[in-house]
């Protein structure tokens, strides 16, 4: 083991992250190397000081209470309350009631789709499941979806425009399989969800911000496109514009 290796490994040693074999290797190296031994001792001291330094902050009681109060009431009770109001009110005609119902249920579904898209986006970042097919080549990613899903998502290379294609995967939104095309912009991931066009078709692109994430939705040749990312609104809109432009160009050629 060289000193360079030991320097990184000694942290893993004091953090108890090494298996017995590697731990022995680092210890053996340190036993024969005064400099690494000194580093090890010095980081153990630092470690001890950190552990003894009481670095935790206690959440204020008011915060605990306010979270405690907020939790049960955030459940999706709005629609229920509204429907209850209906039954008791009895002033609206059945037709009016039906139309209001429709709007409420649709908005509900819309919110659910958005919130599921964000959950899927978060899962993709957290669970080591960003891509099923990992490739920057659109001619590899596009055919991968064949036979896996009953739609042919447009897969477009936007590397020239600053959005790197990194792959694709299958995910679930609203109980249906959806194709996801994954792009990267600097360190940010853009998940582009593609579904069969029912339920969210819209005239022109629509930008939204939900839970701090930006979302751009548009329709393309009967497919619903929904891009989610933590990049800023302007950049996500730029991504959508570039994508739509390139999709049109690809069809024209």
């Amino acid at each position: 083991m060289t000193c360079d290796e030991a320097e990184v490994m000694l942290h893993a040693l004091i953090d108890d992250e090494l298996d017995a074999g590697h731990a022995r290797e680092v210890e053996t190296h340190a036993a024969g190397c005064a400099r690494c031994a000194a580093q090890l001792a010095s980081y153990r001291d630092l470690r001890q000081a950190l552990r003894g330094g009481n670095l935790r902050h206690m959440a204020p009681a008011s915060l605990r209470r306010s979270i405690d109060r907020a939790v049960p009431s955030t459940a999706a009770t709005d629609r229920r309350t509204l429907l209850k109001g209906f039954a008791l009110g009895g002033l609206l005609s059945a037709a009016a009631a039906a139309s209001v119902m429709l709007v409420v249920v649709r908005e509900d579904r819309d919110q659910r789709i958005l919130s599921e898209a964000i959950s899927a986006h978060l899962r993709s970042l957290q669970a080591d499941h960003l891509t099923d097919v990992l490739s920057t080549d659109q001619h590899t990613v596009k055919p991968w979806f064949n036979g896996r899903i009953d739609l042919a998502p447009p897969v477009i290379d936007l590397a020239g425009q600053g959005f790197t294609l990194i792959g694709g995967r299958l995910d679930f939104i609203d109980g249906k399989s959806v194709a996801v095309i994954v792009y990267r912009r600097r360190v940010h991931v853009i998940n582009l969800f593609v579904t069969q066009g029912v339920g969210m078709s819209l005239p022109g692109p629509k930008m939204e911000t939900v839970q701090g994430f930006n979302i751009r939705r548009w329709t393309d040749q009967g497919l619903n496109m929904l891009a989610v990312s933590d990049i800023n609104r302007e950049e996500l809109d730029e991504f959508g514009n570039k994508f739509e432009e390139a999709a049109r160009a690809a069809r024209a050629s």
Binding site: H11, D15, G53, L55, V71, P72, L122, L125, Q126, G212
Partner: protein
């Protein structure tokens, strides 16, 4: 997404029992990431609301890293709101390079140096002054007590990156500590 009253109530109770014991961990990370008490309280609250909304997507296992990952996302949104996201992200390379300098320099430091215990307040201040990537890594490790694998999951980087960030974070912290010793 359950709309049945009973289901919601059951969910709320399960959520409280599982997640509320980690409020201090969530709040502590928020304090170090946002460096401001009021923002940290807001972020912790938002984290719990989001976590509750997405509790169905929690796949079991330790809940602490899951909560901290959500908190971290909330804090990133807060950086964006402050317009500081670009600065935070774009400075990563620079921060890592700068750390490199200190890292190399420290290799020549005397072997007999002993570090004296700073009080908690000073130690907190030194951590707070670290660049963001190192700050979050060392807090997740030393304060939230996460494993390398869990830190990798929370911060979305490979375990190797966690190791090198941690090594640099400690190097920076040690250098800052020594500098403080010299001044005092």
């Amino acid at each position: 997404m359950a709309y049945e009253g009973g289901g919601d109530r059951g969910k709320a109770e399960r959520f409280r029992a599982a997640a509320l014991p980690y409020l201090d961990d969530v709040y502590t990370l928020a304090r170090y990431l946002l460096r401001n008490t009021a923002d940290a309280e807001d972020a912790a609250q938002e984290c719990y609301l989001r976590a509750f909304r997405h509790f169905e997507t929690f796949r079991g296992g330790p809940i602490k890293p899951w909560l901290l990952a959500i908190l971290r996302n909330v804090c990133r949104a807060e950086y964006a709101r402050r317009g500081a996201l670009a600065a935070v992200v774009d400075n990563v390379d620079e921060a890592e390079n700068k750390a490199d300098g200190l890292w190399n320099e420290a290799q020549h430091s005397p072997e007999t140096e002993t570090l004296h215990r700073l009080d908690g307040e000073n130690m907190q201040r030194l951590i707070t002054q670290l660049p963001a990537v190192f700050r979050e890594t060392i807090v997740l490790r030393e304060v939230n007590d996460l494993s390398y694998r869990e830190i990798a999951d929370v911060t979305g980087v490979p375990v190797g990156t966690v190791m090198s960030r941690l090594a640099r974070a400690r190097e920076l912290l040690r250098a800052a500590w020594l500098a403080e010793e010299k001044d005092s």
